[in-house]
């Protein structure tokens, strides 16, 4: 109980405002920095490699073991991919992430890389899983 005149003059204060500020700040930080799951299209068994770069903001091409192509998560033919790349000519500097099954024949990948070269998308990253030392 506040009884004395001096104590009555003191006003209680809460930390609500600073807590809200801090929470908002953290919220904005997380929203800005988190990356969303890239479009997969198909689940593949990745090859192993000593990985070097992290892919961010890429154009995603997935290739199944059977050779089915997926562009940004949607099943596409090679002609569809050509059309998409032609539309995205202003995004040529973006990295193209190729997520292909490890047992896929190279001929399919070579065909895709040839199309990428035709449309001047020259930065490619072959998505792989970290190599387990044997």
């Amino acid at each position: 109980m506040l009884t004395s005149p001096f104590l009555k003059k003191l006003r209680s204060f809460s930390l609500g405002a600073s807590a809200a500020d801090m929470a908002m700040l953290l919220l904005v930080f997380f929203m800005a920095t988190t990356s969303t799951e890239p479009p997969k299209g198909v689940t593949v068994e990745l090859p192993q490699a000593v990985t070097q770069g992290a892919e961010q903001d890429s154009i995603y091409i997935s290739i199944s073991k059977e050779g089915a192509l997926y562009f940004d998560g949607k099943e596409s033919s090679i002609d569809d991919i050509k059309d998409q790349l032609a539309i995205r000519q202003n995004e040529k500097d973006r990295i193209v992430s190729i997520t292909a099954d490890k047992d896929l024949q190279y001929a399919v990948v070579a065909n895709v890389m040839n199309v990428l070269r035709q449309y001047d998308f020259l930065n490619v990253v072959f998505i792989s899983q970290p190599r387990e030392e044997q």
Binding site: T36, P47, Q48, Q105, Y106, A107, R117
Partner: protein, 139 residues
């Protein structure tokens, strides 16, 4: 008349300090924060980079001594006509790196070779510290 005057009596200045209660904002923000932390995916996939040559790129003459030709197979590698496993390839590349100035690795890929062999070869070359790589498709 009195009731009218009473009704329009000027209001007394409010002595109470008007405060904005920020507690619900803090609650809401923390709820959203927890939601984002729980649902966000922090998986950043990694891989092996390769810069493809442009179609308009010209040809480059290189000294034959600089060239290391690697033929990936589905069960290993063939280099200088000899079959090598991964460990032997790494040793070979390390030796070549010490002997040759700026070696260039040429990977000869056949259409029926598995894609993982390409990634593995690229990975082995990068592990050896070689940076100049050429990819050749042997149809």
């Amino acid at each position: 008349m009195y009731w009218l005057l009473r009704k329009h009596k000027p209001q007394q200045k409010q002595s109470r300090l008007i405060e904005f209660d920020t507690t619900p904002i803090a609650d809401l923000s923390f709820n959203l924060l927890i939601f984002f932390i729980v649902t966000a995916s922090f998986i950043i996939r990694q891989g092996v980079f390769l810069s493809l040559p442009s179609l308009s790129a010209g040809t480059v003459k290189v000294d034959a001594a600089q060239v290391i030709e690697i033929y990936p197979q589905n069960n290993g590698f063939i280099v200088e006509g000899k079959p090598l496993d991964r460990k032997q390839l790494l040793q070979y590349l390390a030796l070549k790196k010490s002997q040759i100035n700026e070696p260039i690795s040429i990977i000869h890929m056949k259409p029926d070779i598995k894609y993982e062999r390409l990634v593995d070869t690229l990975s082995a070359i990068r592990e050896s510290g070689l940076s100049k790589i050429s990819l050749k498709y042997n149809e």
